[in-house]
């Protein structure tokens, strides 16, 4: 029986070249994984182009348009940054949690709670209306991050204590967060029956480049706000924590092998709670900076799904905090200028293709493919 089996395999049809796929026997070079991210993006853009072409459009023109309207001048570049700021912060939030294989998909809800926490300072009010700007900024940061952290703490605690799956709990918490905000804008802080709060007074706004427009004309009209600084500082701190600190080492250890971490005396429960809280705080900071830097009032629909886009950004950046900044700018451009091309279709499609291509590209991280001609063997 085995003899015939063997002959069958030996007489199989052969191509003039052979494609070898073997499991990788070494660590892939450092540049390999970022390169896959780039390829995923290019691939997604090509698919997008194909769809535009099939729809009778002109892909290259559309892309040139996107590029012009997102990077073409200082003005639009500034708008791109405004879009990128919340993405950076939620991208960081997701990267941190994912490093520990903790699937926090609740950045959306944590974002809403951060926005709520910041608004509360003005609307409750916690501070008098004429309090100094710096005091407003500091209290709003603290409050926004605390509320985000609280929203991360709940699923973190449930996971640590009762082993509740965090994917389900964080997702569900998103809906609660949105309804929580709705309650306040419909009922408590509603202004004249509209589903929004009153506009915050100016000393509760984050500083923007345009504030300097009077003295430096170059900055006139630029809406990029202080949130950019928060995001960059947060990225650097997070990078430092993950790469250099003892806590970062614990997070990597748990992410790779929880049983080994336990054996090394690292408390998994404590870290699940802490990481969920910090992740929530970062997403909360995103909500805070969006409310105080851009919207200037509490209202519904403050996020077009930033929390979910943050998941894609984190993967595309390979969970590297510094790369999150760059990837977010790309996505900011895609969201901003993509809307110029088409309100939702193509940009969303491109995001979707990116994530699929990324997941598929993992195969090349694990296997090596080489093509050789038969003769050479």
């Amino acid at each position: 029986m085995t003899d015939t089996d063997m002959k069958k395999s030996a007489s199989r049809f052969k191509l003039p070249f052979s494609v070898k796929i073997e499991p990788r026997v070494d660590d892939p070079p450092k540049w390999f994984s970022p390169m896959l991210s780039v390829i995923a993006v290019v691939f997604a853009l090509l698919i997008g182009a194909l769809v535009i072409w099939l729809g009778g459009g002109e892909p290259w023109k559309a892309y040139a348009h996107i590029a012009r309207y997102s990077f073409g001048s200082v003005g639009v570049l500034s708008d791109t940054m405004v879009k990128a700021i919340p993405l950076m912060l939620v991208g960081l939030a997701c990267s941190l949690a994912f490093r520990m294989k903790l699937w926090n998909i609740g950045a959306e809800g944590q974002f809403y709670l951060g926005a709520f926490g910041a608004s509360m300072i003005v609307l409750l009010p916690v501070l008098p209306e004429d309090a100094p700007k710096w005091l407003f900024i500091i209290t709003m940061i603290i409050s926004g991050m605390l509320f985000g952290a609280l929203w991360g703490f709940i699923p973190g605690f449930l996971k640590a204590k009762y082993n509740v799956n965090e994917i389900i709990s964080t997702l569900m918490m998103n809906y609660i967060a949105i309804e929580w905000n709705n309650y306040f804008i419909y009922a408590v802080w509603s202004e004249g029956g509209f589903q929004m709060s009153r506009m915050f007074q100016r000393n509760a706004w984050l500083p923007r480049f345009s504030d300097l427009g009077k003295t430096i004309p170059f900055f006139r009209g630029l809406t990029t706000h202080m949130g950019l600084l928060f995001a960059i500082i947060a990225a650097v701190i997070l990078w430092w924590i993950l790469a250099k600190s003892q806590w970062g080492y614990e997070i990597r250890l748990i992410g790779d092998n929880p049983r080994a971490a336990e054996y090394a005396g690292v408390s998994i429960k404590k870290n699940v709670v802490l990481v969920m809280m910090l992740s929530g705080a970062l997403a909360g900071l995103a909500g805070m900076s969006e409310i105080t830097g851009v919207v200037h009032r509490l209202q519904g629909a403050i996020s077009p799904g930033y929390g979910y886009t943050g998941i894609i950004i984190a993967w595309l950046a390979k969970l590297n905090p510094l790369a999150v900044i760059l990837v977010s700018i790309l996505f900011g451009a895609l969201i901003l200028a993509g809307r110029e091309v088409q309100p939702s279709g193509i940009p969303t499609l491109i995001q979707g293709v990116i994530i699929v291509a990324l997941i598929a590209s993992d195969y090349f991280l694990r296997n090596r493919v080489s093509i050789t001609r038969r003769m050479e063997e």
Partner: protein, 518 residues
């Protein structure tokens, strides 16, 4: 025993010639010639990292060779996957089983095959597999779920899987490393019945007496190259084999210095704990270990040894009883406080518990002291210090690895074990709990580890050595406890093998003594 039947004109089933395989930084196989005859057991010997697993992975289609040719039944082959290899009749049983725990034996065996197509006629296949099991003496219930089986039974399922797929060459990579002595005997009976029915077997092991016992011929690898090729086992002695492997004489006797026995370091009273399934695993264990003493714990695998080691290290909850270290009550204290107190543990499972596979060698050796000076520095990990430490351990313990930044999943089994030992011993433990510390190590490395343990003893550490290998326990230990079903049956001071054997099967020391008196 079937050597008489084998003569030189017996059919050659597999011939590998000039096979080379290079990994980044190492030439794992260097122009290796290897042949396998029909109906023989061919042992493959060599130090850790000599390239045994690599060579057999090439034959089984896991890796492609960089050079050389392989013929099976005189046909040139070039396997691109394990599937192609098994189609040509070559199957490999890896050290880590690849079974689905929640499925039955039959389901696991059928997994990935083209038949049954749509409807599973399980009873019919159960019968077929039962017959096959009968034929080779592989006793296992086809309807049982994998998680219910012992390690030995799971191994039989892996073998059946290969036989069912029509393997007539079976490669076994360190099959005995995970087995209890009685299971080893059964495995050997199976192997003999398989060769009697015309199958050929490649057998990898570090245990020379097993090689002497089961194999017909031996091939020895050293640093990737063949040094002795297909030597009939009957023509050599165990000492010859050791010399062929290591390239020098290996002393099997170890000289143990007399050491002043110090204070009690570990004392355990009435310790009770459950296993994963919530069943009692320890039913009141009493024992103690003094400074400067190696105390052995003998017993058949699964009688509570691993639970005991985990409870002592703080990894498992003690339900009752007391654990004292240096007179301080440490029952149910955290793992970290245990580490701080100088308790070190060499765990039984090096991949599941002992290491983080995708992290580097450096990250793996600092697991216990990343938060202690000089590697821990304030909130930071001092990466220079960590790197120096890793390099030092790599050199001191002779860990074969291209760089300290390599992920440990790429290390050979023995080298991985050395990473763990290096980490645990270099922390200068006061109490060392070593579970099967020499599992998977070659004779040279075993000698090294045993020396290290004795050095620890001389420097005043207390060592609890948990092992299923009596020989090792007898040669290293000052005293030996025997554990059976979670209870200590008694303590032996003079290394009386008969007594230990009786206690391992559940007779208490008092019962033996009274029998002796009567």
């Amino acid at each position: 025993m079937n050597q008489e039947k084998l003569s030189t004109e017996t059919e050659i089933v597999v011939r590998m010639s000039g096979v080379s395989k290079r990994f980044p930084g190492v030439l794992a196989n260097d122009q290796v010639d290897f042949d396998l005859r029909k109906g023989e057991v061919h042992a493959l010997l060599g130090e850790n990292g000599a390239g045994k697993s690599t060579l057999m992975n090439v034959l089984a289609g896991m890796y492609r060779a960089d050079g050389g040719t392989i013929t099976v039944h005189d046909q040139l082959v070039d396997f691109g996957s394990p599937r192609e290899a098994i189609e040509a009749g070559i199957g490999m049983v890896h050290q880590h089983f690849m079974l689905v725990p929640s499925q039955s034996v039959t389901e696991n065996i059928l997994l990935g095959l083209d038949e049954p197509r749509f409807r599973m006629h399980l009873p019919q296949y159960n019968r077929k597999i039962e017959q096959m099991a009968e034929q080779y003496g592989l006793h296992v219930d086809p309807a049982a779920r994998i998680w219910q089986l012992t390690v030995g039974e799971q191994q039989r399922v892996e073998i059946l899987k290969m036989l069912y797929r029509g393997a007539d060459v079976l490669i076994m990579d360190e099959p005995t490393a995970v087995l209890a002595p009685s299971e080893i005997d059964e495995l050997f009976n199976t192997l003999r019945s398989m060769t009697a029915q015309g199958k050929s077997i490649v057998f990898i092991s570090h245990k020379l007496h097993e090689v002497m016992d089961i194999s017909d011929r031996v091939t020895v690898l050293q640093k990737g190259a063949v040094t002795s090729s297909g030597v009939p086992t009957a023509d050599v002695t165990r000492a010859d084999l050791a010399r062929m492997m290591v390239g020098r004489e290996v002393v099997f006797r170890i000289d143990k210095k007399d050491v002043e026995i110090g204070d009690v370091v570990l004392s355990v009273e009435g310790l009770k704990a459950d296993n994963e399934k919530g069943l009692p695993a320890l039913r009141g264990v009493d024992l103690n270990v003094h400074a400067g003493e190696i105390v052995g714990l003998a017993g058949v695998a699964g009688n509570g040894q691993s639970e005991l080691s985990e409870t002592l290290a703080g990894l498992r909850e003690a339900l009752d009883g007391k654990v004292m270290v240096h007179g301080e009550d440490v029952t149910n204290k955290s793992v970290k406080s245990g580490i701080r107190q100088g308790i070190s543990l060499v765990p039984a499972d090096r991949t599941l518990v002992g290491t983080a596979p995708n992290l580097s060698v450096t990250d793996n050796v600092i697991m216990k002291n990343y938060d202690q000076s000089p590697i821990g520095h304030g909130w930071m990990v001092n990466s220079t210090e960590a790197g120096n430490y890793a390099t030092e351990l790599k050199d001191d313990y002779d860990i074969m690895v291209p760089t300290i930044d390599t992920s440990v999943r790429l290390l050979s089994g023995g080298n991985l074990q050395k990473v763990i030992l290096a980490r645990e011993i270099s922390s200068d433990p006061k109490l060392m709990i070593a579970v099967q510390p020499t599992r998977g190590l070659d004779v040279g490395a075993i000698e090294g580890v045993q020396k290290l343990l004795l050095e620890q003893r001389e420097s005043g550490a207390a060592i609890l050595l948990i092992s299923e290998e009596l020989e090792e326990l007898l040669s290293l230990s000052d005293r030996i406890y025997v554990i059976y079903e979670g209870e200590i049956m008694g303590e032996v001071l003079d290394g009386d093998i008969d007594k230990i054997g009786q206690m391992m099967t559940g007779t208490r020391l008092e019962q033996i003594d009274t029998q002796g008196d009567a």
